[in-house]
């Protein structure tokens, strides 16, 4: 046991570099997927047939392609048509795009769970569709969307490790490099697993807290 952990202190700074990458990658793609997901969801419920169909197709395409392939496409194929991105940029865009499909379905479920009478009351007082969304529907949908949103955050944190395949210097990548150079697979990957778990814990507690709050209502 002591031999296993004797090097841990030396490994930690290298792995913490990876933690920084993981956090930047997760935060960036979370923000992007939230914005895009909201756009897809609003297109879907806009009442405009063209926008709704377009959104449906975007979601199905994004859901039907593995995240890793989306990442490869953005990082390796985009430069061929003139868009050169850093590994981190490509990672954020790839994960953000892939997850926007799931975010959108969460948001749509929340929006559609709002009582139709609420929309009628807003429209009947002369509210425009955008104002109805902003003032009446989204605030109520937001509450219902929070618990699944928390789950998505946890999944994104873990799936950010897939960006190691396009050389983003995040935690899994740093771990792999460290293990390759030290042959100390057991220590390194145990540490990597524990660090992921520690990062997930606050999110898991946050989701639990939200679910408890919702069930009280």
């Amino acid at each position: 046991m002591s031999t296993m952990w004797s090097q841990a202190g030396n490994y930690l700074p290298i792995l913490l570099e990876g933690v920084k990458g993981t956090i930047i990658l997760t935060a960036g793609s979370l923000a992007l997927s939230t914005v895009l997901g909201l756009i897809w969801a609003l297109m879907r419920v806009s009442g405009n047939k063209w926008l709704a169909t377009l959104s449906e197709w975007i979601i199905n395409i994004l859901r039907g392609i593995p995240i890793i392939v989306i990442l490869f496409y953005i990082y390796f194929v985009m430069p061929d048509i003139g868009f050169s991105l850093s590994a981190m940029q490509a990672g954020i865009i790839g994960l953000g795009l892939a997850y926007s499909a799931y975010q959108s379905e969460n948001f749509r479920a929340g929006i559609e769970a709002v009582d139709k009478g609420q929309i009628e009351a807003a429209l009947a007082m002369g509210m425009s569709w955008p104002t109805t969304m902003r003032r009446v529907v989204l605030p109520q949908a937001f509450r219902m969307t929070l618990p699944p949103y928390g789950n998505t955050m946890i999944m994104m944190l873990k799936d950010s490790s897939q960006a190691s395949t396009i050389t983003v210097a995040e935690l899994a990548m740093q771990g792999k490099l460290l293990a390759l150079s030290t042959f100390d697979n057991k220590t390194v990957f145990t540490m990597v697993a524990l660090i992921y778990l520690v990062m997930c814990l606050p999110l898991i507690l946050f989701v639990k807290h939200l679910e408890r709050r919702e069930s009280k209502k």
Partner: protein, 245 residues
């Protein structure tokens, strides 16, 4: 003020309005009665464009009501609606519910909207409920907040869609009293209701709906006391004497 000419409406193959004609003058109180499924709520919802109608014409102050037209929001600010299930915004307080339309539709200042909203709450006997959220209010209180919310837009007419049908019997009176007061103050009202006493008290006219058409209409006393059409007679018999054969 409200003109309804030969309006037809169907849901799929089910024709719920089959040529409805009616005229509501400014200051008039018109009660719409009839069995459920007769189209009485549907015509109300067509008047403010919540439902699309397939044939005919509805105008408000000579402006065509078309649920797909750009001006529909503007038209709706002239005609308020009170719903059976209140439809208050649960995430906003009673006061905020009333201020919502004036601020975000009419562009009134917060101070101006708040002053008017407090006045309205007070007139509904709910002065102490300004910070209460709708789920904590009784049905009767919620409906009075909803009526205040309708009045806050200073509408020219109010449509009531069975405003007391979802209330416990002992709370119906509070809401009807408010509606009687509004009628006496000269508000133009179209009221879908089963409250015959209310109709007798304030309605100028009664329209009796059955199977998507107005079967009988006339002065309230005439229709309720001497109904001419057998279907009206049958309906009133059932409503007024529910347990006698």
């Amino acid at each position: 003020m409200i003109n309804i000419e030969d309006v037809h409406k169907r849901f799929g193959d089910n024709e719920v309005l089959r040529g409805v004609n009616a005229k509501i003058e400014k200051g008039e109180v018109v009660c719409i009665i009839g069995p459920s499924g007769s189209g009485k709520s549907t015509i109300l919802r067509c008047v403010n464009g919540l439902e699309h109608y397939h044939k005919g014409r509805i105008t408000i102050n000579d402006q065509l009501v078309d649920s797909n037209a750009k001006n529909i929001s503007k038209l709706r600010t002239q005609i308020a609606m009170v719903f059976q299930r209140f439809n208050l915004f649960p995430h906003r307080t009673a006061l905020e519910n009333i201020m919502e339309g004036p601020i975000y539709v009419k562009g009134e200042s917060k101070a101006e909207a708040k002053e008017h909203a407090l006045e309205l709450l007070n007139s509904m006997g709910l002065a102490d409920k300004e910070n209460a959220y709708p789920p904590s209010l009784s049905g009767g209180q919620q409906q009075r907040v909803a009526i205040a919310r309708a009045l806050a837009m200073r509408p020219e007419a109010i449509l009531f869609d069975e405003p007391t049908s979802a209330l416990d019997p002992e709370l119906v009176g509070d809401v009807l009293k408010v509606m009687v007061r509004l009628a006496r103050e000269g508000m133009t009202m179209m009221v879908v209701t089963h409250e015959m006493e209310f109709a007798r008290e304030v309605a100028d006219r009664v329209l009796f709906f059955d199977h998507g058409v107005i079967v009988e209409e006339g002065k309230t006393a005439d229709v309720l006391n001497q109904p001419q059409h057998p279907r009206t007679q049958d309906f009133l018999q059932r409503v007024l004497n529910p347990i006698r054969p």
